[in-house]
């Protein structure tokens, strides 16, 4: 092989790998990402049935019903609320009136079937997506959501 051929082989191989990587990333970005939605988006049918979604909001007070390992609750942004079902163990900081993010799909019956439910790791902290959704619906309270002041 001449010098030129060697160089071309290397560049060709590199180009091939990069093209494959770019292709994979583009396909995955079109197909494998999850959109964030608020209860209002769902209530106004702005999302299609069967797509994978993240639903964020507050767990409506008094809405948690347990049935064996299945839990039903409602996620609200203060304007609308969406019923959610989830089978499994809820995170430690999952509480009524607190922020949560549920990931799953909404069914034809309008019930959001979650396969994972997240709460925050630290009681000072509000999931950012939830805070933004609450701000949008006008139910954001500065003092409850914001991290506590550094010093007094």
């Amino acid at each position: 092989m001449t010098r030129k051929q060697k160089r071309l082989t290397l560049i060709g191989l590199a180009g091939l790998v990069l093209a494959a990587a770019v292709g994979l990333v583009l396909v995955a970005l079109g197909d494998k990402i999850t959109y964030f939605t608020s209860p209002t988006d769902l209530a106004e049918h702005r999302v299609s049935v069967g797509t994978r979604l993240r639903l964020g909001g507050l767990v409506e007070a008094g809405s948690i019903v347990r049935d064996g390992a299945t839990v039903r609750f409602r996620v609200s942004d203060g304007v609308n609320a969406v019923p959610v079902t989830y089978t499994g163990i809820l995170p430690d900081l999952f509480r009524e009136g607190q922020g949560t993010v549920a990931e799953g799909k909404v069914g034809t019956d309008g019930v959001f079937a979650a396969d994972s439910v997240l709460a925050k790791h630290d009681e000072k902290y509000m999931p950012k997506e939830v805070a933004d959704a609450l701000k949008q619906s006008g139910h954001w309270q500065e003092e409850s959501g914001k991290a506590q002041p550094k010093s007094k």
Partner: protein, 665 residues
């Protein structure tokens, strides 16, 4: 008083760093040896003062001085001592102080061990190292001062986030930081080489031990973090493709690529510009990781209460260093002499193949991690990129790389003979295929790709062993000769074998855990029994226990295997008194050496039932044992005489007139 001294020491460290960032490099430009010699003592002094500052904060935590804001917010007088100490870095300010202290440590190590580097290179490296230090001292002092006090001291502290009250906190962050910050040395060497406009194989030999050490720490830090999340969070997962995890995976992938490209540069004087670029990128990704984790742009357990000025400050540091170094790179890269070319089928070719796939995988993780942030900043759209994205992009990019790993070390430099390699690896290949068939037959009806995964894992492990086997002429020569040859093999050969073997071990664990885990989620009342895999678990009832700073409800489980009671497992829920925050403590039993029975308690029901998550995780421990093999491999490689820091170099490239060894000092 001690706290104020700590604060003052940190300011002194900053002052020394400023001196160190200017004088040595000026000295190189002015060919003034006395100015260049400032670098060493300045680096030592910086470490002394940064270390004192860190010790002062530790002291404040140990004696629970709640007049210090940082101690008040993250400690409590009843907290066990180990968490008082590890709690020093269990918060934003303290962890950044640990960051700069480790940075100063590495600077001092370069000054001590780098005595026989060419004087100009040593001065430039320490100078660049000091730029990084100045930026981060300013960050700590201006935005994240851990020494701030209250006017009036509160009586009691607010305690540490209970999730962090775990031995994992004592180990995971320091290891991870040693890795992140260790890559700053590779960065400084790269920037110094660009400033000098001169680079050769000796440069690679000097950089490799530092990169290797940082890589070993980062490997251990990531593995430790993964195991911690596995047992502490109670979800049974060991990797979530969370942006924070990706933030540590990216420098690891780039650092792995750097290790391999530095070999080509050292042995064949090729891939020089690429290696320099990788060194810059690896540390840039470490900085990016620090930015993602510390700025509060992400929601995660690592993001402590956020303050927007900090995010902006780190972003400025990130842009300045990445932009600055890439600008120098663009301006100076083509002044560096280029290396020779080689045949595609050769050891160099295999290492280029490694670099291609590792960097492509890094890029995929980079896009998946940053795309949501970018999208939100530009269009306000909110998306999340999770495991499905990474499984689709990262997975396929890893497969060809893993397939080639055993072949690479068999190829000769310059021009390899693929046919000869195929003959040598034929037995290993046959055994791997056999493993696929046997696994497929044993686990009929399971996931289709799992047997292939097992085959690749066996291919990696046996391939690594075969390389050593052929090197020592095992079975071809008498055993004694083989043993003598084994002892004589260089450390880096053993290191390569161990690390590549570890990749196979880890893959085996990943495949087995993902494909054949058994999961049972149910509500159990006292006296009820559930069968999970071959175990019968009986819930015997709850039990209340009072811990030092928490109250605990233990759920006792009797585990029966083949009609015999083998053990009792006690998963629990803890409620920490100060923050009234619950945490889940899992109960894990290891069986069959590497497999684990994993119990985690959910919420209690009014009727006496309790929600349970029970897993049987076959061979799950291999995931972390594999990482341990990689880290041991890296460490063994470090003992290689040719790599020892400051080892005499065959080619003293003292081209510049003043580049005499500093040993005369």
């Amino acid at each position: 008083m001690i706290v104020e001294l700590g604060h003052y020491a940190l300011v002194l460290a900053l002052a020394l760093a400023i001196v160190q960032s200017v004088l040595p490099i000026w000295g190189v430009a002015a060919s003034d040896r006395s100015l260049m010699r400032v670098a060493g003592p300045a680096a030592g002094g910086q470490f002394l003062f940064a270390g004192l500052a860190f010790a002062a904060l530790t002291w404040a935590h140990v004696v629970s001085d709640f007049s210090v804001t940082n101690v008040f917010e993250n400690s409590h007088s009843t907290k066990p001592m180990i968490y008082k100490i590890s709690g020093v870095w269990g918060n934003h300010e303290g962890s950044m102080l640990l960051w700069v202290a480790i940075l100063a440590l590495f600077g001092a190590l370069v000054a001590w061990f780098g005595r026989n580097l060419p004087a100009t290179l040593r001065a430039n490296v320490l100078g660049v190292q000091a730029w990084v230090a100045v930026a981060f001292y300013l960050f700590v002092l201006l935005t994240s001062n851990p020494f701030a006090r209250f006017g009036q001291a509160p009586m009691e502290g607010r305690d540490l986030n209970p999730l962090l009250q775990d031995p994992g906190l004592a180990i995971h962050p320091p290891l991870l930081y040693l890795g992140y910050v260790g890559f700053s040395i590779a960065f400084s060497f790269a920037a110094a080489a660009l400033i000098e406009g001169r680079i050769d194989a000796a440069w690679a030999r000097w950089v490799r031990p530092w990169t290797l050490a940082a890589w070993v720490f980062l490997t251990l830090g990531i593995a430790m973090g993964s195991y911690w999340a596995y047992y502490e969070l109670g979800w049974g997962g060991w990797w979530f493709w969370d942006p924070v995890e990706n933030a540590s995976l990216m420098p690891w992938l780039a650092g792995t690529a750097l290790l391999h490209s530095a070999i080509v540069m050292e042995k064949r004087d090729a891939l020089k510009i690429w290696t320099i670029l990788l060194a810059i990128l690896t540390f840039s990704l470490s900085l990016l990781g620090t930015f993602l984790v510390r700025s509060g742009v992400l929601t995660s357990v690592h993001a402590f209460a956020s303050d927007p000025t900090r995010g902006v400050f780190i972003l400025v540091i990130l842009v300045a260093f990445v932009g600055g170094s890439l600008a120098i790179f663009a301006a100076r890269a083509n002044t560096l002499t280029k290396g020779g070319l080689f045949a595609p089928v050769s050891r160099e070719g295999a290492l280029v193949f490694n670099n291609l796939f590792l960097t492509a995988a890094t890029a995929a993780v980079f896009i998946g991690t940053l795309y949501p942030l970018l999208l939100e900043a530009t269009t306000g759209g909110k998306i999340s990129v999770g495991a499905p994205f990474f499984e689709m992009t990262f997975g396929p990019l890893m497969v060809p790389l893993l397939l080639v790993v055993p072949i690479g070390p068999f190829l000769a430099w310059k021009r390899g003979d693929l046919l000869a390699v195929a003959q040598r690896l034929a037995v290993v290949f046959a055994l791997a295929i056999l493993a696929v068939l046997v696994t497929w037959w044993l686990k009929r009806g399971g996931p289709v790709l799992a047997p292939v995964g097992v085959g690749i894992a066996i291919w990696l492990m046996l391939g690594a062993l075969a390389e050593i086997g052929f090197r020592i002429k095992l079975f071809a020569e008498p055993l004694g000769v083989s043993l003598r040859r084994a002892v004589g093999l260089p450390g880096s050969t053993w290191g390569t074998m161990l690390a590549h073997f570890g990749v196979g071990v880890m893959l085996l664990g990943i495949v087995a855990e993902s494909a054949w885990k058994v999961e049972s989620i149910l509500v159990m009342k006292p006296g009820e029994t559930v069968r999970v895999d071959r175990f019968d678990l009986t819930y015997e009832g709850p039990q209340q226990v009072r811990g030092p700073n928490f109250d605990e409800t233990i759920a006792r489980f009797a585990v029966v295997e083949d009609g015999r009671r083998i053990l009792t497992l006690e998963p629990s829920k803890r409620i920490f008194r100060t923050r009234t925050m619950p945490t889940t403590e899992t109960a894990i039993a290891t069986r069959d050496l590497f497999s684990q029975l994993y119990l985690s308690v959910g919420d209690a029901r009014d009727d006496g039932g309790v929600a349970m998550r029970i897993y049987w995780k076959p061979m799950v421990l291999l995931i972390w044992i594999g990482c341990l093999f990689m880290a041991i491999g890296g460490t063994v490689s470090l003992t290689d005489r040719r790599l020892r820091v400051g080892a005499p170099t065959p080619r003293k490239t003292a081209a510049a007139a003043i580049a005499l060894p500093e040993a005369a000092e």
